[in-house]
């Protein structure tokens, strides 16, 4: 080997630089990957008293009307992938006053109509059940 002469070995600043570099890299990639994971918009699910009645995509902005058991709810998916209720045939219209939802796990509830509108992670993209090594 070119160097490694006796007594020349000790910790050098380059080692700490490498450690700091990799720690920074891991933290940065953590935020990059997990942000992209959680911001990948999933799918809009509409439940009526517990049963899934329809799933809407977030991608093309559009208005959808849901008619189910006397409930009539009009859902709007906006350009910024945000979901809001623009019309409902319930008396208080609390779901219409609710702010727009855009993240996984958020939901709008219309209690008189028994309708829950929620955004879920797209399960088709993460279909691994278990891993073994």
């Amino acid at each position: 080997m070119p160097s490694s002469e006796i007594g020349a070995l000790k910790i050098k600043p380059g080692d700490f630089f490498l450690l700091a570099f990799f720690l920074t890299l891991s933290i940065l990639s953590f935020f990059l990957i997990y942000n992209s994971y959680y911001s990948t918009p999933g799918i809009v699910q509409i439940h009526h008293s517990g049963t899934l009645i329809s799933e809407l995509p977030l991608d093309p902005p559009d208005n959808y009307t849901i008619m189910y058991n006397g409930a009539e709810v009009r859902v709007r998916v906006s350009n910024e992938r945000k979901v809001s209720v623009i019309y409902s045939n319930c008396p208080l219209k609390l779901c219409v006053k609710h702010k727009e939802i855009s993240k996984n796990g958020e939901s709008i509830v219309c209690l008189p109509n028994k309708i829950i509108i929620s955004i879920k992670k797209n399960k088709n993209k993460h279909d691994i059940d278990t891993k073994t090594y």
Binding site: M1, S3, I6, L9, K12, S29, Y133
Partner: protein, 182 residues
């Protein structure tokens, strides 16, 4: 000044040292794998100490021999020979030896064996990740392990590197002692 490599070849039987290093690395690898852990793949990689010592003290060819011997012996003893686990270990070790040898050859003025160990540890984990990616057909969710793997690799590489550095210092002190006169 005489280089360590010449001293070590002058003083010891080279094949004997390589055999002892292979057995030490394999035994440490087997013990580390057998200890119960919360996550199966979470290991310090202490067997890397012997590969790194070999690269620093005797050159990269002997380091590669020790690494190959360690993978095969540990694979036979653990019963994972030619299973996916074995190929993961083989890919990780190969990449790690290449990176460590290259880093030690090119940057030994800037970094000590500690830095080489960090690089080798991260390279080992990335090599394993590559095999997992190939097995899983480049599934997107594998990349979620990347930050954890780099974090664990750099920290464990640092710890292993410090142990390895002390080990190399002891070796050099021992080698540089004058031979006993009888």
């Amino acid at each position: 000044m005489i280089s360590t490599q010449k001293l070590i070849e002058h003083k010891f039987n080279r094949e004997l040292i390589i055999a002892v290093f292979i057995i030490c690395a394999a035994i440490i690898n087997i013990i580390e794998t057998s200890i119960p852990k919360p996550i199966p793949w979470l290991r310090f990689g202490l067997s890397n100490i012997f590969i790194l010592n070999c690269i620093v003290l005797m050159g990269w060819e002997k380091g590669a021999v020790v690494a190959a011997g360690k993978v095969v012996v540990a694979g036979i003893a653990l019963g994972t020979l030619f299973s996916p686990t074995f190929f993961m270990a083989a890919a990780g070790t190969t990449l790690s030896v290449i990176v460590m040898a290259g880093a030690w050859k090119m940057f030994n003025r800037i970094i000590s064996p500690v830095g080489v160990s960090i690089l080798g540890s991260v390279a080992h984990n990335l090599g394993q990740l590559t095999i997992i990616l190939i097995i899983m057909h480049f599934h997107k969710s594998i990349f979620f392990q990347l930050p954890i793997i780099i974090l664990v690799g750099s920290v464990s590489g640092f710890i292993t590197g410090i142990i390895s550095l002390e080990f190399i210092k002891k070796w050099e002190a021992y080698i540089s002692m004058p031979p006993k006169k009888e």
